[in-house]
Amino acid sequence: MVITQERQKVTAKDFKSSQKSTWCPGCGDFGIQSALQTALINSGIAPWQVLLVSGIGCGSKLPDYINANGYMTLHGRGTTIACGAHLANPKLVTISIGGDGDSLGMGLGHAVHNMRRNMDIVQIIENNEVYGLTKGQYSPTSKRGFRTTTSPEGAIEFAVNPLAIGLAAGATFIGRGFSGDPKFTADIIQQALEHKGYALVEVLQTCPSYNKLQSTDWYKEYSYKVLEENANYNCQDPLQAFELALKDDGRYPMGILYKNDNRPTYIEQVPAYKESQTPIIERPLKIEAEFFANLKKSYI
């Protein structure tokens, strides 16, 4: 997003929370939190300059475990709340964060619309392909045949493809990382933060409690870094990105899959921000008497 605040010198200490995490040992959320924190530190964004808006679910507890501005809201609604906050105070570096059920089940509709608007925020989807907090039901990204309490014979739906949806909906930045590789993921998040426009970052993650098959080793086997496999991959080309997103070879491509720097963001086209970039919350509420009188006059 367009970062207007002065960059700060921050360290891991600044983000240390007083709270004890309730995530299971080995949960992928630890890696995601670490990647996010590293990205913020490397971008010079202090805890008071960021706003982490989450929904509900294991991964949505992240704002509780990091010392930074946050808002833990409703299942599926995080992105839309984040967009409201961003439009009222664009100075805050606004990040929406939530799991796959949250972001791609209930929240998919909102996400698609905010992508096509090119809202200047970052959306991180923590994708472990299962519902954790409600104790192991299949999710929108679960593979066909995945057996859970709500799919005892195996899921019969095809999984949501977040990358293809993001491309089709008009996200101007699409990246994918992995909780088991925080350094790589931090780099993607950092680039997402620096991207002007809607940045979608999917982070594949492990759930040692309810998705035992897809362990760290499993992901290492079934994923690859796009640039390592194809040094000529051009992330500015939507057709290449689509090909990658739709390539169904059982492996997850990782890295920056798509980037478009040529679309205006939503906020730069909002009439109230055309003449002044001052956040509406910082403008005086006073109404000039003459302006007020003219408003009245239009009804006489």
Binding site: D64, I81, A88, N89, P271, A272, F292, I300
Partner: protein, 601 residues
């Protein structure tokens, strides 16, 4: 007290034929000519076709509702025979029926006119529209001109409004409409001026010319803006849309961020997001959209975010009667969302109260850090009445308990977003300062905002939030009487039914034998329930009649649950049409007759 002199006009047509805009224009002409006016558009949920009508009453005294009978009917769609006959039946004996002279009328229409004793007034609307304006649709202006001419109101008033309305398009269009209006005016004056036998109220330009003609939704939007609202997100839904459109029309000039969202869930969520970072934010909708907002209402309650929601009610349940009026969301608004949290519900009944509700909602939301619902309905959102511009003043803006940047700079102890306080309101610091870093949760949380399931904390936090419900009772307006203090019968009303009830009282009490017999008690703010004020008001009530536009007598139930008071009688209407003063009088007469019988026993 004598009866008000009033003249009533109905302009009917298929949707898209201009009955609505014609009615609004004519209201403006009448107001500028020196009359008090009241106007409402009655329309259907479709774009073209069907049958709609605009009703206007004008008088030398203030008006608060239309009555059932009309003196003039201007009809653009006599092809809709059944509806036209229905409209003719609402004409007074001696009323005038204006219709285009080139359209053949079905015999049913002639029969209906004869039965009522109304006069057929054919006007070459289409012909003059074509000949002078070069356009069939300008026939509407001919019709409006004919009414003004027939009434003998100076042409200038009509001309000014026509010029003003069309000036935005082009000078040529304005000039040709003006010429067309003149032709219609001359035709009406010449041919029907003598046919209009009703006594006209005497105009007083001093009194009305400078008054504002503003509808309820515009007044809410205007009041909200005056009260500091700078963020509005909404999804279109009749009749709530025009609150939002007031802002979108002018948003660059007003400095307000507006967002047409993908649905009502996003509408309230964006407003809450904006509210959470410090904007005075609102959304507007109707009952169906409000249903979708209910989960997020709890989010605002739990995390103590100021947000304002306008629910302009319409006929329910579900899609119900999309363009009809109803008051059936009262208990829903008071109870919506799971769990318990404080909220404020305002139920303005007049245009002026809509303006007040606009700024009061934002002040109360900020002061108590909780959602405020403005509950209106289709009638109030659409009705226009001449109101005094001096009434509309810039209000005091209450930001509530805010922690300033300077205070944060000097703060030594950690900032607690949900600090326990006596009144339940915790001083609010906004994001963006190194000392006000916090991350509240919709989970139960402690004073910092962190998640906790601790039982002691839960009790204290619940009590803190609910204390705000107690704290704000004193800010809730007491119900107000209209009419004599010593009436035999009191109509208890809330919201938009104030207008028709007030008019009914004036008409009923004007009859010498009914002098001061009935009055009304109106609630413009209902939640938290103003119990003490209710108790003292009810002491003055002899025979109570709760009047509402819903089936289950929701306000009567509220009086029973909150004030342990049982109303003596109920009047409930749920056909989607605004109750008329005549209907109220008929019901009141029945109740008087009943109570005579029971007292005789």
């Amino acid at each position: 007290m004598t009866q008000k002199k009033r003249i009533s006009i109905k302009i009917a047509g298929a949707q898209g034929q201009g009955a609505g805009s014609g009615g609004q224009g004519l209201s403006k002409v009448l107001k500028r000519a020196g009359y008090h006016v009241f106007g409402v558009f009655d329309f259907m949920s479709l774009i073209k076709g069907g049958h709609s009508f605009y009703q206007i009453s004008f008088s030398n005294e203030e008006l608060h509702a239309n009555t059932e009978k009309f003196h003039i009917l201007l009809c653009f769609d006599p092809q809709n025979t059944e509806e036209t006959v229905g409209d003719i039946e609402t004409l007074n004996e001696g009323g005038l029926f204006f219709v285009d002279d080139s359209i053949a009328l079905k015999p049913e229409i002639t029969v209906a006119l004869e039965k009522v004793g109304a006069k057929l007034c054919p006007i070459p609307m289409i012909k003059l529209g074509f000949e002078i304006g070069g356009n069939r649709i300008m026939g509407n202006t001919v019709g409006l001109g004919a009414i003004v001419g027939t009434l003998g109101i100076p042409f200038d008033f009509l001309d000014q409004v026509v010029q003003q309305n069309f000036a935005k398009k082009s000078k040529e269009i304005a000039a040709s409409n003006s010429a067309v209006a003149q032709a219609g005016y001359d035709y009406g004056l010449k041919n029907f001026g003598d046919s209009f036998k009703f006594e006209m109220p005497s105009p007083d330009k001093e009194k009305t010319a400078e008054k504002m003609l503003i509808n309820g939704n515009e007044a809410i939007a205007f009041g909200s803006y005056a009260g500091g609202c700078r963020f509005v997100s909404a999804y279109p839904m009749t009749p709530g849309t025009s609150v939002f459109e007031w802002f979108t029309k002018n948003n660059a000039k007003l400095g307000v961020v507006t967002k047409h969202t993908e649905d009502e869930i996003a509408a309230i969520c964006m407003a809450i997001g904006a509210g959470q970072v410090g904007a005075r934010a609102m959304t507007s909708t109707s009952g169906g959209g409000f249903c979708l907002m209910v989960e997020a209402l709890g989010l605002a309650g739990m995390t103590e975010v100021p947000v304002v929601i306008v629910n302009a009610q319409r006929g329910g349940p579900s899609t119900g009667l999309p363009t009809r009026t109803e008051q059936s969301d009262l208990l829903f608004a008071i109870n919506a969302s799971h769990g318990e949290f404080p909220r404020i519900v305002l139920t303005p009944g007049t245009i002026e109260q809509c303006y007040e509700a606009g700024y009061r909602a934002h002040n109360l939301a900020a002061k108590y850090q909780t959602p405020v619902i403005i509950l209106t309905d289709l009638l109030l959102s659409e009705e226009i009445r001449d109101t005094d511009p001096n009434f509309y003043q810039l209000p005091q803006i209450d930001l509530g308990k805010m922690v300033s940047v300077a205070e944060l700079d000097a703060m030594e102890e950690p900032y607690l977003r949900y600090k326990f306080t006596e009144d339940g309101v915790s001083p609010r610091a906004l994001y963006g300062h190194p000392k006000s870093v916090y991350a509240p949760s919709t989970d139960e949380h402690d004073e910092t905002g962190h998640i906790t399931e601790d039982a002691t904390n839960r009790n204290k936090m619940m009590e803190k939030r609910m204390q705000k419900h107690e704290s704000c009772i004193n800010d809730i307006k007491a119900p107000e009487f209209f009419g004599s203090d010593n009436a035999d019968l009191t109509l208890i009303v809330w919201g938009s039914t104030y207008g028709a009830t007030r008019e009914a009282i004036e008409i009923f009490n004007a009859d010498e034998k009914n002098k001061e017999k009935i009055n009304l008690l109106h609630y413009s703010e209902v939640w938290p329930f103003p119990l003490e004020a209710t108790k003292s008001a009810l002491k003055k009530v002899k025979l109570s009649v709760c009047l509402e536009q819903n089936y289950t007598a929701q306000f009567a139930r509220l009086l029973r649950s909150e004030a342990d008071y049982n109303v003596d009688h109920k009047i409930n209407k749920y056909d989607g049409r605004q109750i008329t003063p005549e209907e109220i009088i008929r019901e009141v007469k029945k109740i008087f007759a009943q109570s005579l019988v029971s007292s005789a026993k």
